[in-house]
Structure formats: C-alpha cells, structure tokens
C-alpha cells in the first residue's frame, strides 16, 4: 500500500504572478442564485505559470473567442452580492493577457 500523502491545497499557499493559460472552460447557462444577472458567464480552470490549477470566471472576453491554451491574467472583480442588502464578495477573475508575454 502506498504511503498516505497530504495534498497541498494549492490556492491557499502558492505565490503566483497571476498569469497562466486556460486549461478548460465552459459557459454557464443555468446560474445559481447570486449569479443570475451575470449569466451566461464563462468559467475556466486556469493553469498558472507556477503550475497550479485555479477555478475562476473569465471576464472582458467573448465566449466564442475563448480557446484552451489562451494566455490570461488575474484581475480583481466583484464576484457576487449576497442579497440586495448583503455584503459584496470580491475576488479574482481572469481576462486575456494585456501585457506582452
């Protein structure tokens, strides 16, 4: 039996420049509560240059223009609002890489 190993929960620990490429993506048609105003929106798994995968929405891009392997960079955006009077949740999304690679 192989020894147990602890999986690094990457997103809590890594240092990243916030640049990577699209590993996979989809367009969400049936949005959960809190995201209905954004639908349809694009969600991607991004492979950061440092090696880790990370889930996030894509922003500032048309769904038809997204490709696996495309270079993207992390930006801070509003993710959702928890109800009309609730807190605004900020977090990261990814957009096409603006600066030269």
């Amino acid at each position: 039996m192989e020894p147990r190993r602890q999986v690094e929960i990457q997103s809590e620990r890594i240092a990243s420049a916030g640049v990577g490429e699209i590993y996979s993506y989809t367009v969400v048609q049936e949005a959960p509560e809190g995201f209905e105003d954004q639908a349809p929106y694009i969600i991607a798994l991004v492979k950061l240059d440092e090696g880790a995968l990370i889930s996030a929405q894509l922003t500032d891009i048309d769904a038809n223009a997204v490709r696996i392997g495309q270079r993207v960079e992390m930006v801070t955006r509003k993710l959702t609002t928890e109800g009309k009077r609730g807190v605004i949740v900020y977090g990261y999304k990814f957009r096409p890489l603006l600066k030269g690679d």
């Binding site: 929960i9 990457q10 993506y25 969400v28 959960p32 969600i43 798994l45 889930s55």
Partner: protein, 386 residues
C-alpha cells in the same frame, strides 16, 4: 467481521412526485419492502441508515432519522449519512459495517431524496452545496459546469468529439425504456444527441442525468442467517470507499478519478474477483464524461479510451461489461442521495434473476459505484449471487 447479505430490496419509481414529501416517499419504499419480505423482518431491524443529500438545502429538513424511523419504524436508531451525491452508497457502507461488526443483527439502509420542490436559480444554488464553497461555488461554478470543464479538456487531450459520448446516453435510455421505475422511458435516436440543447457547453441535456425524487431501501442481515429467511440472499462481497480533493483545481490530473480507482481496486481485492468476472457495473453516469472517466479509472479502459466501450457496445446489456442496466442515473433518473441505493436494488434484481426484460443473462457478480461530486467521494460495492 461477519459476512453480510441483502435479503430485501425495494424502490419506488423515480420522478417528479409533487404531491409527496420526504416522509411520504420513505413510507412508500418501506411499504414495498414490507410487501416483499414481510413486516416482521422489517420491524426486527435494529437501525436504519439514511442516504440523503439535499434535505437541509432543498427540503429545509434535517434529522431525517427521526422523521422516518420515529413514526414508521417504532423509533429505532436512525440517522442520515451525507457524502454528497454518494450519500446512498455511503449509507449502504454504514449498514454493512454495522451488521459486519456484529453491533446490530440486521439493518435497513435507505436512500431518499426530494429535489423537485425547488426550481430555478435557488435550486441551482442548493445543488452546488457539494462543491468546494470557498474555491468553486463562490465563482458561480456548478456541478454541471465542473463536468463540462472535464469533458472539454478530455475532448481536447484525446481528440474525442461530442459523438464519442452519445452511446452512453443511447444505451441508458434503451435500458430505461423497459424499466417501470425509470423517470424517462423514451429512447434516444442516433443523431438526436448532437442536437440537444447545451446546459454548460459541451455538456448538453443528453449528457446530464435528470434529478428526480425517489426512495429505495435495502434490508441487511448477517450472511449466516440470511438463508433462513429468503431463498436467494445476495452477498455483499466488498464494500470500499475513498476520497479525492473536493475541488477539481487541487487534483494533479483532473482527468484521473483517483478515488474511483482506489475504491474499485480495494473492492476487487476484498471480493477476490477479477475485472473479467464482473457481469455488470452500475456506475455513476450523472454525466457521460463521468462514465468514460470511471471506466478508465476502474481499469476497464486505457486513459482516453473509456468512450470506446460505448462506441463498441461493450456497455450494452449483451456486451462484455453492461452498465446502467435499468437506465442508470441518466434514464432511470438521478435521485441524488438515494441513487446509490437504487443501484444496489437494481443489482440485487439482476443477481436474483428477476430483472425481467432488463436481465443480464447469468449475472453472478455485480459492481456498483456511486460518486460524490466529480469523484470527490467514491463508494464501491461488489454484490454476488448466492
């Protein structure tokens, strides 16, 4: 540890049971079990373990043990086992452990789910409770979207097209068409698959299993006593569970379902059977991509080749590895926290030779596997005919 057998297995049709709540669904399943094995055996059970996923999030109901056993079963020990969409299978494992250990002589294992009373965005949010809240659902990710991420990457890495997946659904619906308990009994015509509306591209309506309400129940007893009560007890030859990371992003290779592999191999070893001895495999076909990846991780196909078992009709009832023999989650319907118990009920019917038109001829060994999320939890059982 003692050997454990199943001596009763009952289900109600999966569907949209608008007029029934969790309690009513559970009651109907238990009534059917009473009809099958007699009330005395049901009432002798010392515990009931209940698989359920959305009680708290959709039905606004926790403490299903008291809800069900307090009124229907004379107040025996009862509580919910929650392992995401694998809750039913986890409840079966808990019942198995309780009887195997000798802690109880016999136990009921139930799966019950009531998911259709909530609609729209509220339901989509409630269904996302099995994802990683901090790193997935906070971004608006859903289970279906997660499956889409896997499916698109799979198609990209292995040059598979959409058509590679259609035979999983065609096979499921063909088998579901003769199952009176199935939610959908329509067949999918070749070609229709490609035109199905997208839910989360490339996952279409025909890739994803429909959620339905349902309840199913098993009666477990020590194997040495099983023969006293029924002519054809079914043996639980193996019970194994494993976990993988909750979030897809934390997996070294998202296209490898590690928990599927670990629990399946552990089950094979425990049962002492080889893959080619397995007569049918009720796998977790909540999405066609999960069926393909499961066949690979369980060792029935090379990486990237799981879909070829569908193309070649190996998964058909007459094929080398029949799957979804009563329609699977796709056509029988996905009663989520009850799905693992439905799989077990169907496997029992196959092994007892009472599967009717859905019978896999000569079935002696059945594997069943239920997944939480996209393989974050994998619970595998191997059942054998006496």
């Amino acid at each position: 540890m003692r050997q454990v057998a199943i001596i009763g297995a009952a289900q109600i049709p999966v569907g949209e049971h608008w007029e029934q709540g969790l309690r009513d669904l559970a009651s109907d399943a238990i009534e059917r079990l009473r009809d099958e094995v007699g009330s005395m055996l049901v009432d002798q059970a010392e515990a009931i373990y209940i698989g359920n996923t959305y009680g708290a999030s959709i039905s606004s109901q926790a403490q299903l043990g008291a809800l069900i056993a307090g009124s229907l079963l004379g107040g025996v020990e009862a509580f919910t086992i929650e392992a995401g969409e694998a809750s039913g299978a986890a409840a079966l494992r808990m019942g198995y452990l309780a009887v195997a250990s000798g802690a109880v002589e016999s136990a009921l294992v139930m799966g019950v789910e009531k998911s259709t009373d909530m609609i729209g965005t509220a339901r989509t949010r409630a269904r996302a409770v099995t994802l990683d809240a901090d790193y997935e659902s906070v971004h608006g990710l859903t289970l279906t979207a997660s499956a889409a991420l896997l499916m698109r990457r799979y198609m990209y890495e292995f040059n598979a097209d959409l058509g590679a997946f259609e035979n999983f659904s065609i096979n499921a619906h063909l088998n579901g068409s003769t199952n009176p308990n199935a939610m959908f009994r329509n067949k999918i015509k070749p070609g229709a698959f490609a035109k199905a509306p997208m839910v989360a591209d490339p996952v279409s309506l025909f890739d994803s299993a429909p959620d339905g309400d349902g309840a199913a129940v098993l009666l477990l007893i020590s194997a040495e006593r099983a023969g006293d009560w029924v002519a054809q007890p079914v043996q639980i030859a193996a019970s194994a569970a494993a976990t993988d990371t909750l979030a897809l992003q934390d997996r070294a290779d998202p296209l490898h379902l590690r928990a599927v592999q670990v629990s399946f191999e552990r089950a094979l070893a425990q049962a002492g059977v080889e893959r080619d001895q397995i007569d049918l495999f009720e796998l977790h076909d909540a999405f066609t991509i999960l069926a393909a990846l499961t066949l690979e991780a369980a060792g029935f196909a090379e990486r990237g080749q799981g879909w070829t078992l569908a193309r070649d009709h190996a998964i058909a009832r007459t094929g080398s590895l029949p799957i979804s023999t009563f329609g699977g989650l796709k056509a029988r319907g996905n009663p989520v926290g009850a799905a693992g118990i439905y799989q077990a009920v169907e496997a029992v019917m196959q092994l007892q030779g009472r599967a009717g038109e859905n019978q896999v001829e000569g079935a002696r060994v059945a594997a069943i596997q239920s997944l939480g999320g996209l393989g974050s939890t994998a619970v595998t059982h191997i059942l054998t005919a006496s």
